[in-house]
Subunit: 198 residues, 2 copies
C-alpha cells in the first residue's frame, strides 16, 4: 500500500488515486447532506480535485452517484462455510448488524430510497444491487444447509434472507433500537425454527 502510494506518478496510478478520493468524497457528502443537496463543487473541493476531473469520469451527478453507490453496495460479503447452519447464521447476522450500523446503510440507503421514489433510474440501480447481493447470500447460506441435511431441500432462499435481513434492518435502520445479544439469540432461534418447520 505505502509502496503503491510512493510509486512514480504514472498516469494509471494517479488516475486510480483520484477516483478513490472522489469516491470517498461522494460517500462523505451523501452521508452529510444527502443526494438532493450534494453538489459536484463540494465533492471536488473535498476530494482535492478540479471539477473537470469529475466530469472526465461521469457526465452528471446522477451517473456519478449511481456508479459509486452500486459499486460499494454490490461488493460481495465474504461468506465462509463455518460447517453448520447455526454457525453460518450467526456469522451472517453479525456481518449484517455491523454493515447496518455503517453510514452507508443508516444514512445513504434511506436517502437514496427517498430519491428512488422520485427517480426510477436510482430505484432500479439500487434495487438491482441489493437483490443480486441478497440472492447470492441466500443461495449460499441455504444451499450449504440443504447439502448438510440441516434444512429441507425446498427451503426458499429469498424467504430465508428476508427473515434475517428484514428484522435486523427494521431494528437497526428504521426503529433504531439496538438489538442486544439476547435479542439476536432469540431471532436466531426463531429464524432456525421458521426454516426447519415450514
Amino acid at each position: 500500500m505505502a509502496t503503491a502510494k510512493r510509486a512514480p506518478a504514472g498516469a494509471a496510478v494517479l488516475r486510480t488515486d483520484i477516483t478513490v478520493a472522489i469516491r470517498d468524497a461522494v460517500m462523505y457528502e451523501l452521508a452529510e447532506v444527502g443526494y438532493g443537496r450534494l453538489s459536484i463543487e463540494a465533492v471536488a473541493r473535498r476530494a482535492g480535485v478540479g471539477k473537470t476531473a469529475i466530469y472526465r469520469r461521469w457526465s452528471n451527478k446522477l451517473e456519478m452517484v449511481l456508479e459509486i453507490v452500486s459499486d460499494v453496495a454490490g461488493r460481495s460479503v465474504p461468506l465462509p462455510d463455518t460447517g453448520s447452519f447455526a454457525g453460518d447464521l450467526q456469522l451472517i447476522m453479525m456481518i449484517v448488524s455491523r454493515a447496518l450500523q455503517h453510514r452507508i446503510a443508516s444514512q445513504i440507503i434511506p436517502d437514496l430510497m427517498a430519491e428512488a421514489a422520485r427517480n426510477p433510474q436510482i430505484a432500479e440501480t439500487l434495487q438491482t444491487a441489493l437483490r443480486t447481493h441478497q440472492q447470492a447470500v441466500g443461495e449460499k447460506l441455504v444451499g450449504q444447509a440443504v447439502a448438510r441435511g440441516e434444512l429441507p431441500a425446498d427451503t426458499d432462499p429469498d424467504v430465508a434472507v428476508d427473515l434475517i435481513l428484514g428484522p435486523l434492518y427494521w431494528r437497526l435502520a428504521v426503529s433504531r433500537s439496538k438489538p442486544d445479544p439476547e435479542y439476536l439469540e432469540k431471532l436466531m432461534t426463531a429464524v432456525t425454527a421458521a426454516l426447519r418447520h415450514s
Copy 2:
C-alpha cells in the same frame, strides 16, 4: 362531513380546516421534494394560506414536520380480534403491506430517516412514534394468541412484530420486490413456525 364544511364560518371550524389543508400540503411536499428541500413558502402556496397561518401554529419547519408526521405515523391501526392467530396474522400482514405501499412509508419515512441520521430531534420523534405503535400491535397480537393457547406464554412480542414487519418492510420499501400471494403465504407459515417452535 359536508355539513361541517358548510357550517357558518366559526373561528374554530376555520382553524381546523386550515390545519388540515396545511397538514395535507406538508405530506404532499415531503413526498414530492423531501424534507431538505421542503419550504414553508411551497407549503403555504399548496395549502392556499398565507405564511403567517403556518407561523401562528409552528415556529419553524422542523417543528411543523415533526408534529404532523408523528401524528400521522402514530395513528393506531385498528386491530380486531379475528378469533385465531392465523387470522390475526393474515390481517396484520395485509394492513402492513398496504401501509408500506402508501407514500408515507415509501417516500416520507426513508427521507426522514436520512434526515434523522443528521438530526437527533427528528430521530427521536420518529423512533418513539414507530416503537409505541409496534409495541401496541405486538402486545395485542401475541397477547390474544397466548390467551387462546396458540402461542407459548413467553413469546416475545417485539421479536414477533420484527419477524412480520421486517421482511415486509425490507421487500416493499427497500429492495422493492412486490411480495406475491405465494410469498405472503410462505412468510406467514415461517413466522408461525418461528413463534411456535422457539
